[in-house]
Amino acid sequence: MGKRVLVVDDDPDVRLFNTTVLEENGYEPLEAENGEDGLQMIRAEQPDLVILDVLMPRQSGIRLYRKLKTHAELKNVKVLIVSGITQKAFLRSQQALTEFGGTPVPEPEFYLEKPVEADVLADHIKKAIG
């Protein structure tokens, strides 16, 4: 069985695209449609990689990323952010939350701004988890 990758995105078309790329490259995809469901699945399924959107209902990718990276058992879960939100805005938002009294979190290792080509996505997944 291939490595497991959780796709957290509220757009069903994007989930379909990402899971298709994953399957074609030998990974096992899992899906969640918002940050809250995503966190539950990460706890339950412990995937090798999370492909994370930012702007979503219930809980954004910014909060989910922060929760992961400040959680003792989940902080090593690899995250590839794929979003229409720019990396610059993502980093500044994390800075703002840290300034409001939060724990500093590391910058994401992998960040792609939408739209993303299939081969670029596949390359980044491979770089992240092999």
């Binding site: 702007l55 979503m56 809980q59 954004s60 922060r66 400040t70 229409g84 939100i85 993502f90 939060g102």
Partner: protein, 323 residues
Amino acid sequence: MSWPTISRKPSGDGTRATYHESDCPMDMRIKKLLFVTKFEELGYDALETLLSLRKAFLEHIVFLYVIERDKVAMQRGVGFKRDEAIRQKEAANIRFIDWAERLFVQGMEVGVYIQIGSLAAEVAKAVQKEEADLVVIGRSQKSTLEQFYSGSTVTELIRRLSVPVLVYKPAPELPFAMGKPFDRPLLATDWSPASMRAVDFLINMKPLIQEVRVVHVVDQGSIEGSSAMQAQKARKDAKQRLEEVCARFESAGIPARSHVYVGDPKEEIEKALRECQATLSVLGSSAKTNWVERVIGSTPRHIAEKSFFPTLLIPPERRSNGG
């Protein structure tokens, strides 16, 4: 002017900043706001004026754009207008990404829904899914005649929701009302349970409020044919009850003044808003059905639809939440 001390205590992950106020009713706090927009009537400038609500607990904004079903629905010879739905969805998405970036970098939490359906139904669904505490919508552009036939969105929302609805109208003709809607709210009370609930709501807004005006309109019809003594007694009774409401505000640290008006509530409330240079009208709303409202009319709906001022409608307490 001095306010009682409020302590702001951030939590460890930086995602919560909570005011500790033992006398604030918990269920009326505005932590999450649902901002319903079609972009023409409510833009980012309007949203920015509402960010002052961060002083009073706001931490999460959810955007909702509804593609009206009849604009893209199946039509003879055309079918489902998929291209139009995609065009609207992508246009809305691009706008929301821009808005979200501006809010994220301020440490706000942001979410988004772009749905195809009827406005009132989609608002109700989003309120339920997100457990939103306040809905913000723009003023309806429909004429009175159109409202009679199609039903008012505001009326429909009030009927469906148990959370307050802010009908927001940036009003360039009222310079004192621009940019700070919660500065000087005017609470028009008819002593209904919803009006009294509005008092709790405004007490939660204390960090934003300079002064509250509390108004009751004695219906002209109720004192017609009465003696001068009876009319004065009606005024005195109303004033006494208003002073009791003011005392609640004052004891929570919010300056409050009371006013009695006589006449048609719809006209007198608008008059009071101007005379008091209010920045927001606040009214308790009943849960009348659409047809009742259409036949006998509704003061809250009239003010929400017609007034120049932003209008906050507080529904009565209901057993179930959301939609």
